[in-house]
Every structure is written in structure tokens, then in C-alpha cells.
């Protein structure tokens, strides 16, 4: 595996203002992503996991600059994206494409598959129609769809086929990085397995780097090399997939793993059941974000915010339990 870093996110903050009154005074902020750092090496798959509302999708959108970034540095292929001009940013976006969760909502119902796939090509200056058709046909082969499907509309396809179209659209510009936001969450198990296998094959074939956003830990274990666990807009733990699953350090990661349903009735397991829901990101706890639900919380957790600290070569955790 190549060792150079493709994407480096440093202290990313994405705040959404809450406005009130006639003059739309900003009264407070939703801290959707609050000081998140991570990096992805070329050819690697990083899984970004967490519950709904933890900021994992916003992080993905922030990287492609689809939502305004409040603070922080995003370096992609050695360039700081925030410093780029708009036209240059457009050019760079060619190299990072997104695959979305809902294949029913993310394809334009009024376009044929051919039009859907031609759009990114047109936007990035492939003006020759013959060349476009050629690339579209090749792409359909790659994702395992019949070439004749090019003239059909999105509603004629099943969920799995639509997701293949979504993947084809993302791949057609030969990107380096694919940000996949819950790409299999809406699919049936047998179709999910097909799409996961396809994603794996494509990665090998085109040297792709994936940021894989998911709430499904089993899928993450299957696909990812490294995992980053988010909670309430903050990073709780990062590490190699093996370390995270075999030896989770953060109490949140531990409960998250214990919540996965068992895969055979013979291995009943002891479960840590979390109390309550994720607190609101408008008014997060003062210290550790997880303090209200943590079974191991102590004094310090209530007023000191833990920072990520390196535990071993492969693992970092933000928890006071591991303070010196």
C-alpha cells in the first residue's frame, strides 16, 4: 500500500448558526463538527462511524466543500482546499466524488441513465459526444449494468441497480477519493453484499481511496482498513479496524460494539445498554460529550474536554480514563 497521505483533515469545525427574530440575529450555533482531525492514506479505506446526528455526514460534505467550513484545514493531495479559488476547487472536485445513501432520491427522475452519467463529464470539459458515450458504456460494464440500460430512467431500476448507477456517476471522472455516505444502508442484505463486493473490486481496479461513512459496524469491519468513531461532532477514537474491534478503548466504542446484534443464537453476549439519547449538539455537555451516558464517567469528565491521545501505534482515544 502506498504510504503517502491523500486527505488530511485538521481541526475541522462546521457550525450552523441558529437565527431568531426579524433581524435574524444569530443566537447560537449547532456544533455539527467540532474539532475533528483525521487523515487517509492513498488506497486506504477509512470508516467513519457513529449514530445519527454525530456529524459524520456533515464531515463528508465539509471535505467536498458542499457545506461551508467554519474553521480548520482540509489538505487534499498536498493542497489546502480552503485557499483555492472557486474555479480551481471545481477542478479538484473531479478527484473526489460522493456516493449517497438513498439511491431513490439522489438520481434525477427526469434524466436517462446516459444523461445522468454524461453530466459530470460535461461539467468537467469532455465535450466530444462520441468520447462521452464511449466512457459511459465502459463505466456501465465496470459497475455490472447492461449497456442498453443507458436509455432508461432511474425509476425503472431496483435499489441495487440504482446504487450501481450512483457509483458509476461517481467513478466516471476517474477520481482518487470516493466519499461514500451510507451507500448500502437502504439495500436488502443480498443486494448489500453485491454492492459491497463491487466497491471492493473497484478499489483494487482503480486504486481508489474510500471515506466510508456508515452506522453499520459489521459493514465497516468488512470493508475498512481503519476506523474513526465520532460522537456528537467529536472524534472519540481512531485506530486500525482490528484494534477497534478487538480492543476498543473508548467506553462509547465499547457500547457501540456490544449493541451489534449477535450473528448466531449460540453466542449470547453480555450487553452494555446505554441510557438515554445523544444530547443536542446545540448545547453539548461541558466536558466530555459522552459524559451523560458513560458508565465509567468520573469527576474530571464533567468539566474537562478530553483530547485525542495516542495509546499505541495504531490507536488514538479521547478519554480521561487513559490520562497519565
Amino acid at each position: 500500500m502506498a504510504e503517502s497521505t491523500l486527505l488530511d483533515v485538521k481541526n475541522l469545525k462546521i457550525y450552523f448558526p441558529i437565527k431568531k427574530g426579524i433581524i435574524k440575529k444569530k443566537i447560537t450555533y449547532v456544533k455539527a463538527v467540532d474539532n475533528v482531525s483525521f487523515s487517509i492514506k492513498e488506497g486506504e479505506t477509512l470508516g467513519l462511524v457513529g449514530e445519527s446526528g454525530c456529524g459524520k455526514s456533515t464531515t463528508g460534505r465539509g471535505i467536498t466543500q458542499l457545506v461551508p467550513v467554519t474553521e480548520g484545514e482540509i489538505t487534499f493531495g498536498g493542497e489546502n482546499l480552503a485557499a483555492l479559488k472557486k474555479s480551481d476547487l471545481r477542478e479538484r472536485r473531479k478527484n473526489m466524488q460522493m456516493v449517497f445513501q438513498d439511491p431513490y432520491a439522489s438520481l434525477n427522475p427526469r434524466l436517462t441513465v446516459q444523461d445522468i452519467l454524461a453530466e459530470p463529464l460535461k461539467a468537467h470539459g469532455v465535450t466530444n459526444k462520441k468520447e462521452r458515450t464511449e466512457r459511459i458504456n465502459k463505466m456501465l460494464d465496470v459497475v455490472g449494468l447492461n449497456r442498453n440500460y443507458a436509455y432508461r430512467y432511474a425509476h425503472e431500476f431496483s435499489g441495487g441497480q440504482r446504487q450501481r448507477i450512483g457509483i458509476a456517476r461517481a467513478l466516471i471522472l476517474n477520481p482518487k477519493l470516493i466519499i461514500a455516505d451510507e451507500p448500502v444502508a437502504a439495500l436488502d442484505v443480498s443486494i448489500q453484499a453485491q454492492v459491497l463486493n463491487l466497491l471492493k473490486d473497484l478499489q483494487k481496479e482503480f486504486d481508489l481511496t474510500y471515506l466510508f461513512i456508515s452506522h453499520d459496524l459489521s459493514v465497516v469491519r468488512h470493508l475498512c482498513d481503519r476506523v474513526a468513531v465520532m460522537y456528537l461532532g467529536r472524534m472519540a477514537e481512531t485506530g486500525s479496524t482490528e484494534k477497534i474491534f478487538e480492543n476498543p478503548l473508548h467506553p462509547y466504542t465499547q457500547t457501540l460494539l456490544s449493541a451489534i446484534p449477535i450473528s448466531n443464537p449460540r453466542d449470547k453476549k453480555e450487553r452494555v445498554i446505554l441510557k438515554g439519547d445523544v444530547p443536542s449538539p446545540v448545547d453539548p455537555p461541558k466536558g466530555c460529550a459522552f459524559v451523560g451516558r458513560c458508565p465509567k464517567a468520573f469527576d474530571r469528565c464533567h468539566h474537562d474536554r478530553p483530547q485525542l491521545q495516542r495509546m499505541n501505534e495504531e490507536q488514538e482515544v479521547a478519554c480521561h480514563l487513559y490520562d497519565e
Binding site: 449514530e51 445519527s52 431496483s158 435499489g159 441495487g160 441497480q161 436488502d188 442484505v189 443480498s190 443486494i191 448489500q192 453484499a193 453485491q194 459491497l196 463486493n197 471492493k200 452506522h215 453499520d216 459496524l217 459489521s218 459493514v219 469491519r221 468488512h222 470493508l223 479496524t241 482490528e242 474491534f245 457500547t255 457501540l256 460494539l257 456490544s258 449493541a259 451489534i260 446484534p261 449477535i262 450473528s263 448466531n264 443464537p265 449460540r266 450487553r271 445498554i273 446505554l274 438515554g276 439519547d277
Partner: protein, 326 residues
């Protein structure tokens, strides 16, 4: 037969839907039963007919275009299909109740939580407002909702997804039904919340001795919750067995395929098994086994003749020619 009696007994149930002038069977002669106090899992992918089956038990098939074309649904010995709408209303929410997948859309947004629980109680019981209120608050407590008195006068939008699903369960169990039908009750929830809800359902089952029909596509949830399992494919039951056998000695190629295609959190597998192709549309398979086109072990016979259910061992049936004895 065992000593416990069947609370629900479905025999040869066929449900047809009209589309483009043709009548198509979306559920095609299925039979299964649920014993008192048992949790039965009904597993299958979208379009296999599992939700339609549950709606037919409640008498909620939209008609037209749908209709129950044959078979019986016996609940405590009486065929629900013979019931008039007026009698069915007494059964619904009282003897049999249902919780749906989407807690966001199955609660009424313009009524308070309290009012929605009271509604079921007042309809089926001889209660006054104060008694209903007390019972509702008691139900909210039972399903583990904090500050029940306050939540009682809240509206659905003020609650999170997990809390709403708890409210749905409270409504479902308010009249202490004999059978609870849960249609994908945790699919829309996060894993930690799913674990909470599953735990809650287990606890409540032990306390109230309600039978549960648990409809899901998630085999992990089945492993945790169910005693017996029915696997459905394209409107038919393809395998029926106890939960241990389903996971450790499954017979039908479809069941095997499903089990192989789930990624596991406990070990890393290089490549998932994937069942090729996709579920056929209802009514498109004219003869032979409906799974034939996707099956790895397909034989000539499979394409010609529709396989019957073969008896494997006590309580284990499988619809596949591989197990024919000739």
C-alpha cells in the same frame, strides 16, 4: 403436537393484488402458526410478502386493489377472515396490535402522546379519563420513558426516534394484547437505540406473556429475539425451523445465501457471498422454483416443477427439490 396451543394459525393464505388489469398473487398459499408466548420471526427481503401477510392478519389489506383470495387466519380458533369490520375493530389494538417501522410517521403529529395512548384504552376498555391517564402514564413508565408525566403532554415531534418507538410499543401493549405484530420495529433506529428497544421487548414479553410476530430482514435481530423462524421468498414460505437450526443447520439455498451475505462484526471475511440477480417481481415466475434463477444448486427439475415443502426433522420444513426422497 406440543401442549401449548396455537394462538395464531394461518393456513394456505393467498393474497392477490390487481395491477394493470391482471391479478397477481403476492402471498401464495402460506401456512404457519404462532404458539402462545412464542416469538416467531418472519424473514425475507423487500417484496417477499411479509408485510402484506401481517396486514392481512389485522384485516388492513387495502381493497381494492388487494384481496384475500383464499385460506384461513385462525386466531384463538376463530377465522378472522369471517369477521365483520365492526368485530374486527374490537380485535385490533385489543387482542392483536401492531407496531410499525417508522415511528416518525405512525404517530399522529397533532395529538399529544397521552391522547394517543388514551385513545386505545378508552376504545377497548370501560374507563374514564382519569383512569386512562393513569394507565397511560403507567405504560410510559413500563417502556422506560423518563419523566412520563411530562412526556404525556408532549407532541411526537418533541421526542427522538427511539422515544417515539417506545411510545408506539406503549400504545401496542396498552390493552395487553395476546399477539403483538412488530413490523421492522428497529430498522429506522441506531444500533444503541435498537439494543435498548430489543431489550425492552424481551423484558415486556417475559412480564406480559404476549406472543410476538417479529417481521424483519435483519438476521442478527432474529438471532436475538426469536424462538422460531419462517423464511419467505417471493410470496412463499421457503423454510421454517427453530432459530438454532436456522443459523447452524440451514437447508434452503436462499437461507444459506442470506446468512452468507451478512458481514460479521466478529471476524473479517475477504469476500462476501452474494446471491446473484435480484428478487423476481411478483407473478413473473410461471413455473418451477421461484429461486431457480439465483440458485447455485439449480437442477433441471427446479425449472419445471414448483417444489413443495419437504419435512426435514420435527418442526423443520424446506421448499427445495434437493431434499426430495426419490
Amino acid at each position: 403436537m406440543t401442549m401449548t396451543k396455537n394462538i395464531l394459525d394461518i393456513k394456505d393464505l393467498t393474497i392477490n393484488f390487481k395491477s394493470d388489469g391482471k391479478e397477481i398473487s403476492v402471498v401464495d398459499g402460506i401456512s404457519f402458526h404462532i404458539k402462545a408466548g412464542e416469538t416467531l420471526g418472519v424473514v425475507g427481503e423487500s417484496g417477499c410478502g411479509k408485510s402484506v401477510t401481517s396486514l392481512s392478519i389485522m384485516g388492513l389489506i387495502p381493497s381494492p386493489p388487494g384481496r384475500v383470495a383464499g385460506g384461513t387466519i385462525e386466531f384463538e380458533g376463530k377465522n378472522l377472515l369471517d369477521f365483520k369490520e365492526k368485530d374486527m375493530r374490537k380485535v385490533r389494538g385489543n387482542d392483536i396490535s401492531m407496531i410499525f417501522q417508522e415511528p416518525m410517521t405512525s404517530l399522529n403529529p397533532v395529538f399529544t402522546i397521552g391522547k394517543q395512548i388514551n385513545e386505545v384504552l378508552l376504545l377497548h376498555n370501560d374507563m374514564n379519563q382519569t383512569e386512562a391517564r393513569n394507565r397511560s402514564i403507567e405504560m410510559l413508565k413500563l417502556v422506560g420513558i423518563p419523566r412520563p408525566e411530562q412526556i404525556y403532554s408532549n407532541y411526537p415531534y418533541q421526542l427522538s426516534g427511539g422515544m417515539r418507538q417506545r411510545v408506539m410499543i406503549a400504545i401496542g401493549l396498552a390493552c395487553q394484547p395476546k399477539l403483538l405484530i412488530a413490523d421492522e420495529p428497529t430498522t429506522a433506529l441506531d444500533v444503541t437505540i435498537q439494543a435498548q428497544i430489543l431489550n425492552l421487548m424481551q423484558d415486556l414479553k417475559e412480564k406480559t406473556d404476549t406472543s410476538i410476530m417479529f417481521i424483519t430482514h435483519d438476521l442478527g435481530v432474529v438471532a436475538e429475539m426469536c424462538d422460531r423462524v419462517v423464511v419467505m421468498y417471493s410470496g412463499q414460505v421457503v423454510e421454517e425451523t427453530d432459530v438454532d437450526t436456522l443459523f447452524n443447520d440451514p437447508k434452503h439455498p436462499y437461507t444459506l445465501g442470506l446468512l452468507g451475505s451478512i458481514p460479521k462484526a466478529t471476524e473479517k471475511i475477504e469476500r462476501l457471498y452474494s446471491i446473484r440477480g435480484q428478487v423476481p417481481q411478483a407473478g413473473t415466475v410461471e413455473k418451477g422454483c421461484r429461486f431457480a434463477d439465483r440458485c447455485d444448486k439449480v437442477m433441471d427439475r427446479c425449472r419445471e416443477e414448483d417444489p413443495p415443502l419437504f419435512q426435514m426433522k420435527q418442526g423443520h420444513q424446506c421448499r427445495c427439490w434437493l431434499y426430495a426422497e426419490d
